[in-house]
Symmetry: C2
Subunit: 298 residues, 2 copies
């Protein structure tokens, strides 16, 4: 486990099992690549795949998966609830270990270039790989979806970063980029009052004047009779988990509401938890090189 | 980084650089083994080596290091402040990843058997590998040191677990075993009053009625004008770091003394810090399989 990049490609197929298996096959056979998860969603007709491993091998495998998706998925026949614009809809590279964001941007560009030239699919770069500010957000790029993109691609402002200025006849277009790992962090509050969850969510989230890398919503947990502040932390190195926790604790105090528990959904980098431990233990001079497993890869 | 055992052999040479280098050489060349640290101490005339990696390869490399130490160190000529009874004095195996304590005991037995039979050095098993209760503690085995052991080994109660019932003429005897990772955890208090540090150390440590797997001492930090509770946590899975921290916090409160900071000296397993994060975040349903890097090895 030397250098590790994570990649989370989203494919527009969540129903035909044999197609999904064919798409993930390159990740199963690639050396030094681990297929961590793939979650087909029939309603969305979409599968989110999570892989991690050696950057060059991940790059090669994801290209093969995109090629397979282009040959087996016909966007003309695709229906599903989730917005999408291509057979391979979006491909973020995520730095995990001994790899910088700049190197992830380079991977995104190299993948985009190959997908554009070899597969004839228009590619747009997003997030940290974006070539202009209005292409940073995926939602802005994807607006109009596959159907709308048939005309949107003729707009000079929406010339692709790689590949032809026309949708691929069956595979549509693909968005490729680089971003930080997301941490899905939820905090449960000892109240059933949704107004309190919403008010705290507004206080902590960036859009409401809160922390820079927090997206937050109030959610009702009806079966438990409580409410939750449900969050995505989009850069745990700059907005660490403990800071979010303590800000929620401070906000909850004004309502006399206790924090019951929290949860991390899915995967989080080890480093994000070391930060939490170092804060609450008030550790001096601690770095991840104090962690035995980390020292083994240095 | 699949299965990982740590091994911390102590050799009775801390002065002759070329001897120390020859002893650690097997760890440098072994495949899937990382030489994490080696710290020669001239006053103790002793070198503590820390290695980790594939269990079979660590076993093979440590045997070679013991063979080298036996050929280059003469205990008849050895002087130093630290108690010792052999050229290779003590060899603990420590479970880190995907390996049980039982498997570490098995490694200790296999190493002991080879050292006894092939090198003719008497071997005593200690800690989790001990064959009787009075051999659990290293200090009990080592009492009398190399010089005293010339007669102690004739005592029927001290027949070695492996090898001859006589000291090796130059290499003495060796203690081999298995134990949990040690976490060296110190807490700094906002006072210069040593009585408070000693009192808190007595309260938290096992011997004083405190936590089962805590050894603690009060220490004066003269340059900073503060005192410290200096600890070894001998089983972080049963006495987790956060519990020690919170117990010290509670004890310090009775003196109106704040915790200034804490420190972890050397290496600690990632798992020991995940426990801390999970406690302070009140995480529900968290396991180390939520950690991205861990999932890559499953």
């Amino acid at each position: 486990m030397a250098r590790v990049v994570e990649c989370v490609p989203n494919f527009s197929e969540g129903r035909r099992k044999e197609v999904i298996e064919a798409i993930v096959e390159p990740f199963r056979v690639a050396p030094e690549v681990t297929l961590l998860d793939y979650a087909p969603d029939a309603d969305h007709n979409r599968t989110v795949v999570t892989v991690a491993g050696d950057p060059e091998n991940v790059l090669a495998a994801v290209f093969e998966a995109i090629r397979t998706a282009a040959s087996l998925i016909d966007m003309e026949a695709h229906t599903g609830e989730h917005p999408r614009m291509g057979a391979t809809d979006v491909v973020p590279f995520v730095p995990i270990r001994e790899i910088t964001m700049t190197e992830c941007v380079d991977l995104a560009r190299r993948l985009g270039s190959r997908v554009g030239e070899e597969l004839g699919i228009p590619v747009f770069l997003y997030e940290a790989a974006a070539t202009r500010p209005e292409r940073t957000n995926l939602a802005d790029i994807r607006r109009g979806q596959y159907e709308g993109w048939k005309t949107k691609i003729n707009d000079p402002d929406w010339r692709p970063d790689f590949g032809p200025s026309a949708l691929h006849p069956s595979a549509g277009a693909t968005v490729v980029g680089a971003r930080m790992p997301l941490v899905a962090f939820n905090v449960n509050l000892g109240t059933s009052d949704m107004r309190i969850a919403n008010s705290i969510a507004r206080a902590v989230r960036h859009i409401g004047g809160g922390l820079r890398f927090v997206k937050a919503l109030g959610i009702e947990m009806q079966d438990r009779g409580i409410v939750q502040v449900s969050m995505n932390l989009t850069n745990y190195t700059k907005t660490p988990i403990y800071r979010v926790m303590e800000m929620i604790r401070a906000e909850a105090r004004r309502y006399g509401v206790p924090i019951i528990s929290s949860e991390i959904i899915g995967l989080t980098p080890a480093e994000s938890l070391f930060d939490v431990a170092a804060y609450y233990l008030q550790l001096e001079g601690f770095s991840s090189s104090n962690v035995l497993e980390n020292r083994m890869t240095e």
